[in-house]
Symmetry: C2
Subunit: 590 residues, 2 copies
């Protein structure tokens, strides 16, 4: 991968930046910032800010928080990530799924929208930050691999549905109580008559505009011969467009007073205050499960998009450095009245496509958002909540991942099953327990698979030293010998299978007096399987059959020798290869 | 195993018994009962009854039930098991660990000793019976293999400690409230002054007598030249001895009135009434977790002892038939005022050693216990509870399994870890959640292991077609080729490991332009690993390296072909053997 490596620390040092760089990840962009990167970074920073202002407020609302919290979470965290992150194009900030997890975790502990609720969100940012940073320091980044792709896809798809339906109340202007997923739709349908049609027109119109910008406008602009560099900024300004449009409509027609359209209302202006989390072990313990899930899911979403973008430009992303950077970004959110953040998929793609070359783009975004909270918050007073709901709904619709399910279904039913289990569990028992169930199901399915391994009775191929499956090849066998290859490590979950298989084969072939177990695919024998092997050897001996072990791998053999099993069965019954075993038994000569 | 098979159904048919036998397991003992078996069966049935009367009452007390429930659970269940069981020597009835699980599961739902409590125990027997019978019918016996030996040993050891300490209150005559394990000892110590010394003398004396009978008496009798057949009955009558002794002492000295020694009191006489469980879905749902754990643990204990005894006489035990028989026995317990039963370890060993040849021994035991509840219950009035506590304590002391821990510690640290996790979890979070945690830990450790598989960079051995680990053998390598064997199936938990390993090896060897991944130990590739392979192929290509796959197993190759990966990477880059790959790359000629 020499070709895709970062600048080496020996590349033209740049005085002060170098000294700072010592404390930052190796090969960081600050060391030697090339001027030609500036245009791309500024443009990307600007476009992402335009997306992030409405998204930040919308996701904060989704999390049950006041809209300004979403903006606060888009300032310091972005500066910190820009400085520390190993991805050059990841756009950090509030994202839909983390916002949903925040809402799920905090709602039972405080009233939505209350000061205590905000305090809990800040505390959650602390916990997530500490967990992610610690995982980075002790290099636990690999742990996220226990979240398999199908589980993550099933989780995301179900979470997108949960989020989408949670916005129904804003879209229809109906007061919907806190309901389970499957109770929500029936409730909404039975209360459809209460719909505030003006609100619905604003929200539904917003959705149409967003979809038009996303699906149609780009092609039109290209056909109309618009300068290509302008197409991305225009299409990605859709959230801004509906926010402006919604605000202007409400303000000019006084829709909030005349028709009771729900609006954002007073948003405090000025930079976020310095905030501190709750220092209460009891609260921490209550928030811990949520914090763990957010840490994993947030990191997983982040690293996946960071990696895929980096590989397009042959750059590298360092998993543990990413954890550190995300952790630090969350601690930044904690200090400035924010809530947990992570790298967002769509935002990062926009950042990348708009030409972001370094963390500077993130920093420019942060500065623009800071200017927004200083100067523009009075403008948001008349912003209808339905417009924000429309933004959330269109954003999460893109997360529904039917393609992965179809692919996985074709390839491997166990993977498909873990997708389905996660999907259904998230809808039935909630996002947090749902993903935990999904992870457990994926592991169980893996263990289930290895508990019924592939077994091949083998015979000699011609006069070679090669022994192959009797069902797939024309091979030579002997009535008094059974030779079997088990294609799996031997451990507790398949030790009974091993016993049944061996005893069954011996029972089927009454003339047998030698049984050869071939270990080419046995990477490991645990204590339960060892006990089974001991009992097998005894049972076979009782039935007049000698057990042989052939082609046991070095490390496995060392273990068996240490524990005394080699001496117990007898050294002469261990053979380097299957062929050696056959020679020792005497059925083949050379 | 032809030699150890049961009587074939064609062996001398015995009229009526044959007709009945059609409904019973193949080759059942009833078909042709040889007369010479009778003496052993009668003797064994008698000795087990002598053990079971006090044990049954003691375990019922441990379960928080009136003593007669333990006796009731020792009549019909034994008849049923004797008829249906595939083991000839298993002695079914109340056992310590199941009794503990019953207590743990029911105590939160009803007051100990109340009629509702007994009803719940009966309902639990229904659920356990149905679960076990269903598992037998749909052949889920293999499921218990997910309970590894170290987990079971850790569980048993911790449960023995919990049970032993739970008897402190009876042994000392102190009223101890329902406490966590770690609070119990401090509480008992601080309340030691309240000890009822007469009670303690009865209990402590009982323990001494039991230990003496168990450890010393057998040798003495042999030295004294006692007829060997008499030694077992005498040593195994210890529980009866202390029960008789305790009863006589209390009665003759009126210890219960003069010193407040707790006695068993009124035990209803006559055969158990016909009982029916609670038919309440809500209750069933509450009891279900406990019932599942009892079903598994009970079956596990049972099948282990049944198998080990059967193999000593070269008989066979059928796992699914055992589940059916145990399930039926539990349904029997449910109908006759009992509580969940299973095959007991020590009792079965005594049954076996006393010469039991068939289920007739169990039936004789059942008849003797029935006679006891009809005629002898008034005798139990003065039986001190401390004597029963002594029986429980000595019985569970034998379950503490340090040997397995030591063995497993030497052999495999992951197994030792799952022993320790289960042991600690049972003590900290309780028996039920403890064993579930242990099972989860064992699975996680297995997955953890396979997430960091053994990897060997290989080279050519001399001028052979054999490629071996460069670290273990003198082999030939080429600067532009890396060939690697990964000794594990590729799946979500190790897909990142795979990626890091491959990219790391390529980065270390800048001249490389062919990477050969050898699949001899890859039994399976899941969707996550497939995605990783696709991304690896792309990343390697970007770096100017061609990925080759060699020696992929047939079933795995079929999958890769179906999903289009073979076409994606290119058919020419798949090779039957490592040697073929090297020939295709051109570094070897023939």
């Amino acid at each position: 991968m020499a070709k895709s490596q970062e600048h080496s620390p020996l590349d033209k040092p740049h005085s002060a930046a170098v000294r700072l760089g010592r404390w930052l990840p190796t090969g960081h962009w600050l060391r030697c910032y090339p001027r030609e990167h500036l245009v791309g970074d500024v443009l990307a920073g600007f476009i992402v800010a335009v997306m992030l202002v409405p998204q930040g407020m919308a996701y904060a609302l989704l999390a049950g928080l006041p809209p300004e919290v979403g903006l606060y979470a888009s300032i310091l965290p972005l500066l910190v990530y820009g400085l520390l992150g190993s991805s050059r194009t990841l756009a950090v900030g509030p994202v839909a799924i983390v916002s949903l997890l925040v809402a799920t975790g905090i709602t039972p502990l405080a009233e939505v929208g209350s000061a205590a609720y905000v305090q809990l969100a800040i505390t959650l940012a602390l916990l997530v930050g500490v967990i992610q940073a610690l995982m980075g320091v002790v290099r636990l980044g690999f742990l996220v691999n226990f979240l398999s792709h199908p589980v993550l896809a099933g989780f995301t798809t179900a979470a997108a549905l949960v989020i989408g339906f949670s916005q129904l109340k804003h879209l229809l202007g109906i007061g919907i109580p806190n309901l389970e997923f499957f109770e929500l739709l029936p409730y909404a349908v039975t209360h459809l008559a209460e719909t505030n049609w003006v609100t619905f027109a604003l929200g539904g119109g917003g959705i149409l505009i967003l979809v038009y910008f996303k699906q149609v406008l780009g092609g039109q602009l290209r056909r109309w011969g618009i300068w290509p560099q302008w197409i991305l900024p225009i299409t990605k300004s859709a959230p801004l467009v509906i926010v402006v449009l919604g605000t202007v409509l409400v303000w000019s027609l006084q829709l909030h007073e005349r028709f009771g359209v729900a609006i954002v209302g007073q948003v405090p202006d000025g930079l976020p205050p310095l905030t501190l989390p709750l220092m209460d072990m009891g609260v921490w313990r209550q928030l811990l499960p949520t914090a763990v899930v957010i840490s994993f899911v947030g990191y997983m979403e982040s690293i996946a998009v960071a990696k895929s973008l980096a590989s397009k430009r042959r750059q590298k992303v360092n998993a543990n450095q990413e954890l550190l950077a995300l952790g630090a970004a969350n601690l930044g959110a904690m200090l400035t009245g924010g809530y947990p953040v992570t790298g967002g998929l769509s935002r990062s793609v926009v950042n990348f496509e708009a030409g972001a070359n370094s963390g500077l783009a993130s920093m420019i975004t942060a500065v623009l958002i800071a200017l927004t909270v200083i100067f523009l918050t009075p403008v948001f007073y008349f912003l209808p909540q339905a417009s924000l709901a429309a933004i959330v709904i269109v954003a999460v619709a893109g997360l529904i991942d039917v393609k992965t399910f179809r692919h996985v279904w074709r390839y491997n039913k166990a993977d498909a099953a873990s997708f389905v289990v996660t999907f259904v569990a998230v809808l039935l028992v909630g996002v947090e327990n749902g993903i935990l169930l999904g992870v457990a199901a994926a592991m169980l399915l893996f263990i289930w698979r290895s508990s019924r391994p592939h077994v091949a009775v083998v015979g000699r191929l011609g006069s070679s030293e090669v022994y192959r499956n009797v069902l797939r090849h024309q091979v030579q066998c002997w009535p008094n010998v059974v030779a079997v290859r088990i294609d799996e490590s031997l451990y507790f979950a398949n030790s009974k299978f091993l016993e049944d298989t061996v005893l069954g084969l011996v029972a089927d072939q009454p003339e047998v007096d030698h049984f050869v177990l071939i270990g080419t695919a046995v990477n490991f024998i645990d204590a339960s399987a060892l006990e089974t092997l001991e009992s097998l050897a005894r049972q076979l001996k009782d039935a007049g059959v000698q057990l042989h072990l052939a082609a046991i791998k070095g490390p496995v053999m060392d273990r068996l020798r240490d524990i005394g099993f080699v001496a117990h069965l007898g050294e002469p019954y261990f053979h380097l290869t299957t062929h050696d075993a056959m020679k020792a038994i005497g059925v083949v000569k050379e």
